[in-house]
Amino acid sequence: MGRILLSGNESVAQGAWEAGAVVGVGYPGTPSTETLAHFARLPDVYAEWASNEKVALEVAAGVSLAGGRVLVAMKHVGLNVASDPLLTLAYTGVRGGLVILVADDPGMHSSQNEQDSHNYAAFARVPMLDPCDSAEAMAFTREAFGLSERFDVPVLVRSTVRVSHAKSLVEPGSRAVPDDQPAYKTNPAKWVMMPAMAKQRRLDLDRRIDELTAFSRETTLNRAEYRDTSLGVVCSGVTYLHVREALPDASVLKLGLSFPVSPDLISEFAEKVDRLVVVEEADGFLGRTLLAMGFSLDSVPLPTSGELTPGSIRQAFGFEPPPLREADTSMPPRPPLMCPGCPHRPVFNALRKLRAVVTGDIGCYTLGALRPLAAMDSCVCMGASISMAHGAELAGGMGDRPIVAVIGDSTFAHTGVNGLISSVYNAGTSTVAILDNRITAMTGHQGNPVNGITLQKRPSHEVDLIALCKALGIERVRVVDPHDLEAAEDALREEVTHEEMSVIIFKAPCALLVKDKGDPYAVDEEACTKCGLCIKLGCPAIGKNEQTSKAYIDTAVCVGCGQCVQVCRYGAIVHSGPACDLGGV
């Protein structure tokens, strides 16, 4: 087939397919999402988005119990959600190989925190493979399935943004489905983790980890490269590539199996180099591991958070930077923003007018926290909005300001519904806004239980949110079109005054799903009074003229949604001609 350009995520999917994985399951999350999306397109596999990562890993555990090889994919914070099954699946082990791709986001390009999933490998005591590029992502994932079955344990494949979203040339291979497993026999000593059995499996896990530690000594997943031996660098993942570029002469111990690590492997390398240094991103996991083993490390002043680059490594090792042009720091920042026509915008516009305290959640709508909408008070983790609103009410509320929980459709199905059940059960009185834009937008438009679109386009059905809320015992449930600004505001105003739980479902498709754009609008300069209400919508099509302070609309950006027409009290926003006027800047 020759070499093709694949991302790390696509390569993980390809490796799993080659290893004969029959099922893929996960929940979207940058930078992991394309892994399962790509797997789903490969022949002879079944793939699905689960409602959350815990569910995904449990589905995978079932596939494994039934003897199938299964790939699970999620982002780093997803592993927090899936950690409950993970830590006990380490005890049970597997039947069919079970491999979890976990994609970390050092530097937080698209995440609420920065965690190093190596810690989970050590915590759960499951092996972790650390590919540095697409070719390794493919080969390591393929190998991970064999290791999972050989050592009877789930295997974590860790990537980072610069593995997942880097593309390089790989040579895909063919699929080799392993032989059928011996017939299934009920085996409670292995699979029913109640105390008596768990105690045995706990000891057995120690044995398996010991075997893996011995394996770490001999496997070609780990590689010592000897060049100039005055400096020896220990590293893993993409950091290896940065180190090779930054310090081309250094000797390197590259850990492809970053947990568990054999002390003998390190000793052998340490003995041959004068100076032993660990180079790693964000957390210090490998460094702590080596220190705990008793190695003395030389430390260099690497950044303690964020991503490394070849340049930052060179700097830490005391090299001069190359000649530079002067940096310009005067540019205004360019934060991401809600698209023109976004149905989330009017909800936040109304919440701002209500001076609501908004417990928010994670999705495109989190952008409602930024100016000028500036109508979100918290965003912690997926599903937290509803439970936090309940908690804030338990503390006696927020003075005279109403409290509203705001959550997206995918996030509601992920873990929001759990909070809602709990609030209703405890006679909570919160107002909950579910922003049902018919898609999981932030991560690139995946289906979810609320819209009933499945990963491989199999028929399914939508959750009936109204019936669901009613079944939970919520009387006050209604659906509102957020593009009707008055209706959106009225609904919120009314529901926050009610001393009982209420849910408003703001239902309108994501602006990027709307193919028929309306004609763009323009500002009638005569009629504009510079009141600024349209500007406060935070639409990227509307700006304030620096000279006149009047509003203007960029017709090339406007999608004709008409939200601004509704906020203008002076009838100054009117239909204009067709787009593509490319006059001056």
Binding site: L5, P310, A327, P336, I535
Partner: protein
């Protein structure tokens, strides 16, 4: 020999597709290639960049200040924001258009002025990609115009570019995109000759 190209702009401007074209061309010409991009939050109208590196042997997919040989900026402020990434003797191709970020649109921050003059002093060549894209028959092909401009001065055969573009864009838009590429290439040739 290692060549580093940085494409930068505003999420949604098509930097990712453009980078993909370049990477595929380099691969088709038998080189090693790496591309690194960022998805997710920033794609919603935020500041984005993609790095493509190619050569005989290469390691890291990312780059550092002072290491970029060719920068292609889809927008003025994004060019300014990354000017220090470009080698002092590197090449800068800039679409001379400003897309005001939200803090400017809302009047929270002043719009920057004089960017074109500063960039010109730094040796930038301006390619009015939006205008040329409209001329080529598809306003959405500005990214391909810029790839045409970049191609002038890179050691890749025109035929390879055309093949890669034809295989990568929607069939109905092949002609407009090939036109866009040609217009960009010609504009860069003119611009560089004028210097």
């Amino acid at each position: 020999m290692l060549t580093t190209v940085m494409l930068c702009g505003v999420g949604g401007q098509g930097t990712i597709l453009a980078a993909d074209l370049l990477a595929k061309v380099a691969a088709a010409e038998g080189l090693e290639v790496k591309l690194s991009e960022v998805h997710g939050m920033s794609q919603r109208g935020g500041s984005v960049d993609t790095v493509v590196k190619y050569g005989d042997e290469l390691f890291s997919p990312v780059t550092d200040p002072g290491m970029v040989d060719h920068m292609v900026a889809f927008e003025l402020m994004e060019a300014m924001r990354r000017i220090h990434y470009v080698r002092p003797d590197g090449r800068m191709l800039v679409n001379p258009r400003a897309i005001q970020p939200l803090p400017v649109l809302t009047g929270d921050l002043p719009a920057p002025h004089g960017m074109q003059a500063i960039l010109e002093e730094e040796g930038a060549i301006f390619i009015d990609a939006d205008l040329l894209a409209c001329e080529a028959g598809s306003p959405k092909s500005a990214n391909v115009v810029l790839m045409g401009a970049l191609s002038w001065g890179l050691p890749f055969a025109l035929e390879t570019w055309n093949d890669v573009i034809a295989s990568r864009v929607p069939p109905k838009t092949i002609e407009a995109n090939l036109n866009a590429f040609q217009l960009g290439r010609a504009a860069c040739q003119k611009g560089e000759c004028a210097r």
